[in-house]
Structure formats: structure tokens, C-alpha cells
């Protein structure tokens, strides 16, 4: 029984996400350090058509579980697939991506294996076979070094932290025929959006608006985000006021993002907002109020009316691209 690292390539009905490649790249790095092989598992309906692509990022072995009943995500069914693989041949380390699907399968697997789990990890080190995972706690106020016990060491990565690195090779593709059990949950209706804009948690650039935007018209922010290829976020105020949907909220009770650039417009910078964006690589704050707390955290501080600054910025960015 040889050593291996297992990466769950996630629920990917519309193709693999960048974060899956991030997880596989990190899995490859750890496998290399352990002198182990890397296995990627992909489950769903139609995944056999894209599974081969995982070899590009370093998977030595790709386990494909393609079944019509897996077209819809079901936590229990997806976890059972992994559980069966793990019980046959236990990997030392199992990595997951950052999506809510990934985390839900990871937690469910950890419970079934009675194993520890670390999510939103921003770094990994190895001490022999033991994984040391670094993850933020207390809304990012502290970083914890965590070790894991149990049948496998299970961890989920945070988005946008680990680089995607190609490590192409010829991978062994194994197809398994899963035993699909009856689910307790029945899907009644799907309300899925087909957004062209990049997902907030995966975006390299986030343009976020707060109370200062003054109303539901986020047009300037959307225009800037589109020009920069980024996503639009919102503070809790903007969401509470009904200006933006909950899905756009960045903060302690919203999404945690770690983009290359976070542009906070008209956001005062309350602690609970900071918890959602403090690990951004570069924070720019635009606020009329020179005493806004966000200026204590921003790398670049612009004391200016956002309604003047954003059009000016949009203009400058347009000049760049033409």
C-alpha cells in the first residue's frame, strides 16, 4: 500500500473551478515532499469528459465517478463515494477546495471517519507524514497552526491563496461505478444563476460598496469591476438596506474573500467587515471621511467622494485597456 494524497475535485457541473486546480497544485506539492502519489477524485454527471484535465495539474491517478444520479449535489452521496475510496486504501492527506460543496463533503467525511478537519487553510507544512495546517481564527485576528488526528488528515483550502501550478503527466484514469443510495433530501426546485461575472470568493479583484454608496445603484462599482475582471461585494449595511443581495456580503456573517485587490468604497471598516477581507493582498479604501476606521487597515487610502473617485478610476482603467 503506497502513500498517496487525495484531492477531491469537487462538484463541478459547469467545469472545474480555479480553486480546484489550486487544491490539486497544493496536493502535488505535498505529494512531492512526501514522495507520494497524487490521486484526484471527481464525481458528478458528465465529469468523465473533463476528468483528464486534472492530469495537467499533477494528478497521477484520476478516479472518475460518473452517474446520472450524481448530477445534483447530495452531501451524503458524494461523501459515500469518498468514504468507500478511503476505506479501501487510506490516503495520508485528503484536500478539498473552498466551495460550500467542498466543505460540506469534507465535514461529512471527517465525521464518518472520526477524523479532525481544518478548513479555510492558508498554508501547509509537513513534519514527516504529519500535516501542519495554518488557518485564520477569530475573524482573522489570529492564525492557528493545527494538526489532525484520525483515519486521514482532512483539510480544505481557502480560495486565492495557493498558486495554480501545472505539473502535467500521464495519469491513470480509473472509473468506478458507485452504489447510489436513496437520499433523504428531495430537490423541489433549482434557482441557479448563470453569472458571467466571476464568483466573489474566487475573484482576484473585488470592488465593494457600503453605506457611502447611498442606495441600490451600484452601477459605478459594477462598471469598474467589469473593466478589471472582478466581482462586486457589499458591506453588511448595503445588504441590510436591501441594496445588494446577501450573496454579495463580505464580512463575518457573509463571505470571506482573499483577492489580490480589495477596493472598499464608502465602507467605514467595522470589525465584522474586516473579518471578511483582512487577508486581501492589497486593500484600497475610498471614503469621504478621513476618520473612517478602514483607513487603519488599508494599504492605499483615498480620502475622496466615491462618486467622484470611481468615474475617475474607470476613466483611467479604460485608458489602460485601449
Amino acid at each position: 500500500m503506497s502513500k498517496y494524497v487525495l484531492v477531491f475535485a469537487g462538484y463541478a457541473p459547469s467545469g472545474f473551478k480555479k480553486s480546484t486546480f489550486e487544491a490539486i497544485s497544493e496536493g502535488r506539492r505535498l505529494a512531492d515532499r512526501l514522495n507520494a502519489s497524487l490521486t484526484a477524485v471527481t464525481a458528478g454527471h458528465g465529469v468523465r469528459n473533463i476528468a483528464g484535465g486534472l492530469a495537467e495539474y499533477g494528478a497521477d491517478r484520476i478516479i472518475v465517478c460518473d452517474h446520472p444520479e450524481l448530477a445534483e449535489f447530495d452531501q451524503s452521496r458524494y461523501t459515500s463515494i469518498l468514504e468507500d475510496i478511503v476505506k479501501q486504501n487510506s490516503p495520508g492527506i485528503i484536500l478539498f477546495g473552498p466551495s460550500s460543496y467542498d466543505k460540506s463533503v469534507a465535514a461529512c467525511l471527517a465525521a464518518r471517519l472520526d477524523a479532525g478537519i481544518a478548513s479555510e487553510c492558508v498554508g501547509f507544512e509537513l513534519d514527516g507524514d504529519r500535516l501542519l495546517a495554518t488557518r485564520p481564527m477569530y475573524g482573522g485576528k489570529l492564525l492557528a497552526g493545527v494538526t489532525l488526528e484520525g483515519a486521514a488528515q482532512i483539510a480544505c483550502i481557502r480560495s486565492n491563496v495557493f498558486p495554480v501550478a501545472t505539473a502535467p503527466r500521464t495519469a491513470e484514469v480509473v472509473t468506478i461505478d458507485p452504489q447510489i443510495k436513496e437520499s433523504r433530501i428531495r430537490i423541489v426546485e433549482k434557482k441557479l444563476k448563470n453569472s458571467d461575472r466571476v464568483d466573489l470568493t474566487e475573484a482576484d479583484i473585488v470592488v465593494a460598496g457600503g453605506r457611502g454608496v447611498g442606495g441600490p445603484d451600484f452601477g459605478l462599482l459594477e462598471r469598474l469591476a467589469d473593466l478589471l475582471g472582478g466581482a462586486v461585494g457589499a458591506s453588511r449595511t448595503a445588504v441590510d438596506e436591501g441594496w445588494r443581495p446577501y450573496a454579495d456580503q463580505v464580512g463575518q456573517t457573509g463571505k470571506v474573500v482573499s483577492p489580490k485587490l480589495y477596493l472598499a468604497c464608502g465602507i467605514s471598516g467595522a470589525m465584522q467587515h474586516l473579518a471578511g477581507m483582512s487577508s486581501s493582498e492589497c486593500i484600497v479604501a475610498v471614503n469621504k471621511d478621513p476618520d473612517a476606521p478602514i483607513f487603519n487597515y488599508a494599504d492605499f487610502c483615498v480620502v475622496e467622494d466615491l462618486f467622484k473617485m470611481l468615474p475617475a478610476l474607470i476613466n483611467e482603467v479604460r485608458l489602460l485597456t485601449y
Partner: protein
Amino acid sequence: MEIIVLLKQVPDTAALIQIDGDNVSIKTEDVKWVINPYDELAVEEALRIKEKHGGKVTILTAGPESAANNIRTALAMGADEGILICDPALAQADPQLTAKALTAALKGLQHDLIIAGSRAVDDDSSYVPTAVAGYLDIALLSMVVRQSISDGKIQCEQTVQDGALVVEAGLPALITTQRGLNEPRYPSLPNIMKAKKKPLTVKNLADIGLSAENFGPGSLKTKIVSLTYPPKRNSNKVVVEGGSAGEKAVRLLALLREKSVVG
């Protein structure tokens, strides 16, 4: 309907978090403890379900003695009874041990519906509700923003990565809360007074049929081995100057391009 709410106390968002001498825990003396924001949504939803369908709302917490105060707050919101699982062996409990303790307590309680927060904002873990649902062998419906109950089934709208799903499962089930589910009520003064008389039972591990020797630091599956402060950002902060917004925009973009943040 017997509704159980899983409640966790967490440090207030504004709390100063300081690493304790052992380097693996935080100082707790001056910390203001509040109900985990997602669990507040759980309490509120439980109360609304009780108002609509009748029944009882029980708050269940595994935590230190101080957690009783937060249970009282939930009782003041309108919950009927509180149970605090408190034991020295749980002092450094990880989510794995917490889930086991809560499960043991739940097995001794009638439960038609269990409501929990989708995650805890202190350790950012969503493990506990998942594990509890698994151990009890009941459906888990997570990140719920709307629910309705009829004919022994619960129908929920869940937030998922690419939008929302409407799903249904039979009771008993466990649902977890997501922002947008409701706006929690503030306890009124009369209800705060009433809450003092509501039953709040403290149980230890033995009371729920568990042995403390399976719960100490040696039984941890997730071990914190170090705590550090993140690197202080903003020590090189730059104030972007300019006589007009236009000038500031030019300067900002130049700075961002220098840092290769923008192409």
C-alpha cells in the same frame, strides 16, 4: 413540535483577542461573550416555528459556565428551556468532541427539528451540525434562508454556490441558518425577567452517559499547536494625494500597477 437549537457562545466581534501564555488558547478574562450570530438566527427561527406550529424550544449548548448567560439571552428571546453541557473534560474540546457531546444529549431529548448556525464565527467551523446530523442519521439541510413545515416534512430554500435550491426532507431533520433567514428579535424587558424563571439545567458528561476519559486533550482530533498574530498590515500605508479625484485616480492606478496588483 420539539425544537432544539444548538447554541454556541463566541467572543464579541469587537473583542480584543489576545494569545494566552500557553500559546494555544486565548485570554478569556475580559472577553465579552455573545451568541454566535448564526445561532441567533437559529433561535429566532425556532421561535417563529413555535409561534406558528406550537411546541417547545430548547436551547442546547456545550460550553463553559459562562455560556449560561447566553442561554439566558435566548430564553429571554422566548425559548422555553436551556441545557448546558459543562464538564472540565470539555474545556479544550474540538468540534469533534463537541459534536459527540451534543449528540449524546440530543439522544436523550425528543427532537422533531434541530436548528444550528451554519458556522461558528470564532473558529469558522461548520463541522458540528454536519457531524450531529450524521450521528443521529437525520437529514441535514444547510444554509437555509427560508423554511416551511407541513405534514411532517420541512421544505427549505438553501443558498448554494451558484444560487439557491429548494429542498425537502422528512422530520426529524437538522437545518442550519444562513444570513437572510430572519432578523432576530431583541429580548424585551418583561421577557428578560421571565427568563430568569425558565429552567436552565447544567449537565456534565456523566449525566449524558459519556465518560470524561474519552474527552480529554488526549482525545482531540483537531489540535491547535500554535497561535500567532497575523503580520501587521498597513505599516507602509500610503495616502493617495491629489488636487482632484482625477489626479488621485492617476496616482492610485500607477501605485497599483507598480505593485502588479493591476495589469
